[in-house]
Symmetry: C2
Subunit: 200 residues, 2 copies
C-alpha cells in the first residue's frame, strides 16, 4: 500500500484550514490516505526570514481579499477568527500527543480544532480551549491537560518542527505526494493531477 | 465594451512568462481584450521588503522545482535562461515606448522578448538585444535605440512603476479583472471563473 500523502498545515493558517476540508476526499478519490502534520509558521519564518503573509505590504491586503474569495469559491462554512493570527503551540502539542497515544482520535481532534477556529470564531490558542475540544472528540480532559505540560510532549513537537524544516516545509498547506512537494491551497488541482498520473 | 483585463508581468519572471502564453486566449474565450503592462519586481521588493523568490530559503528550492513542473504541465516550449534573474529595464522602456508610439507592435514586441528569453535562452537584458528584437517585429532599430536613451521614455517607465505600486501590484503575473486582482500563474483558473461568472 502506498505511503500516506503528507499534509502539513498551521492551525492559524486560513489556506491550511481550507485545504484541510478538501485534502482527505481528494486523496481518497485516488485510494490514498493522508497523514496530518501540524506545523508552526512562526518557527518557519525565523528560518526563512519571511513575515506573516497578512503583514507584508501590498501582499497582505491582497491576501485578506483572496482568503475570503477562495473560501466563497469553496463554498463551505468559513470565518476569519477575530484573534487571527493566533498561537497554536497547544493545539500542535495536543495533536502530536494524540497521534502517538490515541491515533484514532488524532485527526478528529485536529479537525475539531480547525473548525472551532475557522467555522465558529472561537479560541483554540488557550490550553483550556484545546482541552475542551479534546473532550468533545472523546479524549480524556485531565489526561490531555497533563499532556500539554509534559516535557516529553513539548520535545516531540520541537523535533517534529525541526524535521519539517529539514524536509523543506516552509508554508501552509504543504502537501507531499510520494516525495513531490506542493505548497498552497491553490495547488490542490495539481495534487489531484499528480495523484492521477503519478507525475509528469 | 468592457475594459481590457490588465496583465502585469516582469520579463524576468518565469510565472509571468507562463501566464503570458495563456492569458490572451483565456480572456478571448470570454470576449475580453488584455492590456500587457510590464513591471520590475526589484522595484516592488524594495517597497514590500521581500526577496526574489528563488533566493528565499526553502521556498527558493521549492520554486525552482515548481517552475519546471508548472511549465511541463502547460506543455509549451520553456527554458530557464542561464542569466535568470536578469535586469529588464530596457525591455520595459521599449515596451511602454511601443505602447505609446507604435501600439500595434507593442504586444508582439513584448511577446518576442519573452520568448527570446524563455524559449531560446537568449539575452534580453542588453539594450542591443532589445533593439534587435524590436527590429524583428517591424519596429525601426534606430528609433528604438534612441527611445531607450530618451529621458521622457525613462520617466514614462518610472511613472508606470509608481502607478502599479499605488494600484497594489506586488507580483508577477498580477491580473486585474474589472478591479478584482489575481496574483500568480496558479490563479488563471480563478481568473477564468471570475470572467465567466462576473465574481462570486
Amino acid at each position: 500500500m502506498a505511503a500516506p500523502v503528507e499534509f502539513y498545515f498551521d492551525f492559524s493558517s486560513p489556506y491550511g484550514y481550507l485545504a484541510s476540508e478538501q485534502i482527505d476526499q481528494l486523496c481518497a478519490q485516488h485510494g490514498r490516505q493522508t497523514d496530518w502534520r501540524p506545523i508552526m509558521l512562526g518557527v518557519v519564518f525565523k528560518q526563512t526570514g519571511q513575515q506573516p503573509l497578512v503583514e507584508v505590504p501590498l501582499k497582505g491586503d491582497y491576501s485578506k481579499r483572496d482568503i475570503l474569495r477562495t473560501a466563497r469559491l469553496w463554498g463551505g462554512p468559513f470565518v476569519v477568527p477575530d484573534a487571527f493570527p493566533f498561537p497554536s503551540i497547544s493545539a500542535c502539542r495536543a495533536a502530536y500527543w494524540a497521534k502517538d497515544r490515541h491515533p484514532e482520535q488524532a485527526k478528529p481532534l485536529m479537525q475539531a480544532l480547525l473548525r472551532r477556529a475557522w467555522n465558529r470564531n472561537q479560541d483554540i490558542a488557550k490550553p483550556d480551549s484545546v482541552v475542551a475540544v479534546a473532550g468533545e472528540v472523546g479524549l480524556d480532559r485531565g489526561e490531555t491537560a497533563k499532556a500539554l505540560q509534559d516535557p516529553a510532549v513539548k520535545d516531540r513537537l520541537r523535533q517534529e518542527l525541526e524535521a519539517s524544516l529539514a524536509a523543506g516545509v516552509f508554508g501552509s498547506p504543504y502537501i507531499v505526494v510520494d516525495g513531490e512537494p506542493f505548497w498552497g491551497n491553490d495547488r490542490l488541482d495539481m495534487v489531484d493531477k499528480w495523484l492521477a498520473r503519478g507525475g509528469w
